[in-house]
Amino acid sequence: MTLLEAKGLIKIFGKLTALNGADLTIAANEFHGLIGPNGSGKSTLMKCIAGAETPTQGTVTFGGHDITQASPAERARDGMSLKFQITSVLPALTLYDNILLALQAQTSLLNLALSRTRGVLHDKVMAMLEQFRLVDRAHEPASALSHGQQQWLEIAMALAPEPKLLLLDEPTGGMSLEERRVTGELLQPIKARCSLVIVEHDLDFIRDICDRLTVLDQGQILQTGSVQHVQSCPKVQEVYLRRA
């Protein structure tokens, strides 16, 4: 079943065409990798899907609804969640509060003012911290974490509201090899719960966790298919793999 469909996306910034007719289809519970050289349009495509950018042309449908003009908040309420390329945890708040903030986004303002959902959400907060191996540091400020741990925290924040689609923009950027391995382990179990679109430069990492790959080059889709199919495609080897 198709969860997300982007059709003919064009995004122009001034004289630069960042996306030039990109199509992308994501099925339910699919792990999909976006790869391509620097400046190929991966992050722009991700932003058009998440609502951080509005495409100049083209449509995005999510769960059968056209969300091309929807705000990021509306998309989030529909079940889409994004982890930014640049880590954007809230450094002054504790890890606990960072996760609670993500979890309580759907709570009404009256219930927030009366703190009515804190009891219900407490167990979920602790479970997320446990899952991402951060529970021992629950009450420390997020600024005290290493870069890799901040990336995990942000993935946990994105995953906490139980989205239908999780968008991860370079989740292993700046991580050590060991941290990358652990990140892969942390992401595997979520397959049963949601779909994933991931932008990554680390090909080994993306090969291990993704079902399908899309390769972008100069704002256009070069190839889409299974990992094996894309890897064996001569055009991809020419444009991307050789450069990598």
Binding site: A50, L100, N111
Partner: protein, 317 residues
């Protein structure tokens, strides 16, 4: 602990102060209420309102007109009216500045509110019905039944009563899950929009709430002073309240109170002792605190962790 110490001192003060100082202290308490209103929007939600005096002054003018033209002075009518006026003005200004499809920048909101404050000041100065440059003098006293509330210990205790109630309400709200949402708004507005928060609504709500509190302060101030004048709406008071909060420590309620009390007390003392150069001395003092204690005076008493606090669960303070 600090809050209780400040409360005890506040409650005992009229017993040891001379009458004229009690009147001055009452004015300071009302300004503390006004500072709380600014702290909510700036310290907690990160919205730079440089026009907080609009809500303070418009409520002051509103209740002054009620008293002058309609003879309405009952506390049960004038204070709710003042709160409503402050709320309505904040809703209007906030709606205009904050409710666009795209989030408004800090600079846009700061300049927009500043312009609003300046425009209201000029409007009041030029409007004959509002008394022009002279404002509205000789406002009849506020009444509770047949009792007239004039400046002195009774007004002081009423003002401290309102300050305590508003302080506790703000404290409850800022430590709730709503307070956490505001902390998220202040720290990274884009991040929480991607969680699904309606950030513009959050901003409009806290902005209007702060307008209501400023309206309460403006109403109390108008009846305490017995007159209102255009400065109550203008840029000088709007800036003064920013200094109170920066000096005391933004993002903490007690910081706003301490900042107001210290600035007003030091101003009072300096203006008596150094009549010609006291504004310069005060300015240097403010600069020193802001340079060397950017988190305000309250950072001498509370740790960073305590200042950020906890939300929607038992606090550590």
């Amino acid at each position: 602990m600090i809050e209780i110490a400040v409360l005890v001192i506040g409650l005992l003060l009229p017993l040891v102060l001379q009458d004229y100082l009690t009147v001055y202290a009452t004015r300071v308490l009302i300004l503390c209420l006004f500072a709380l209103s600014f702290d909510l929007v700036w310290g907690y939600a990160g919205i730079m309102s440089f026009g907080q005096a609009v809500f303070f002054g418009s409520a002051g003018y509103g209740v002054a007109l009620l008293a002058r033209d309609l003879g309405i002075t009952s506390i049960l009518l004038v204070l709710p009216a003042g709160i409503l006026i402050g709320f309505a003005f904040a809703l209007l200004l906030g709606g205009f500045l904050l409710l666009g499809r795209h989030p408004a920048s800090v600079i846009f909101v700061a300049l927009g509110t500043l312009t609003g404050s300046y425009a209201c000041d000029r409007l009041a100065r030029g409007w004959y019905y509002l008394g022009g440059q002279n404002g509205i003098p000789s406002i009849p006293p506020m009444t509770i039944g047949s009792y007239e509330l004039t400046e002195g210990p009774a007004y002081y205790y009423m003002a401290i009563g309102f300050l305590i109630v508003v302080y506790l309400l703000c404290r409850f709200l800022m430590r709730s899950q709503f307070g956490l949402a505001l902390a998220g708004l202040r720290e990274n507005e884009q991040r929480i929009a991607f969680f699904g928060y309606k950030v513009q609504h959050l901003k409009a709500i806290i902005f209007s709430l702060s307008g209501a509190i400023a309206g309460l302060a403006g109403s109390l101030y108008a009846f305490h002073e017995g007159f209102v004048w255009p400065n109550m709406l203008g840029v000088v008071i709007s800036t003064q309240v920013v200094l109170y909060v920066l000096f005391g420590g933004s993002g903490t309620l007690i910081g706003a109170v301490i900042g107001t009390v210290v600035i007003e007390a030091v101003s009072f003392w300096l203006s008596n002792s150094y009549q010609d150069i006291w504004p310069i001395i005060l300015g240097v003092l403010l600069l020193l605190v802001i340079l060397f204690r950017p988190a305000g005076l309250v950072s001498l008493l509370l740790s960073e962790r305590e200042r950020v606090g906890s939300f929607g669960r038992p606090g550590k303070r």
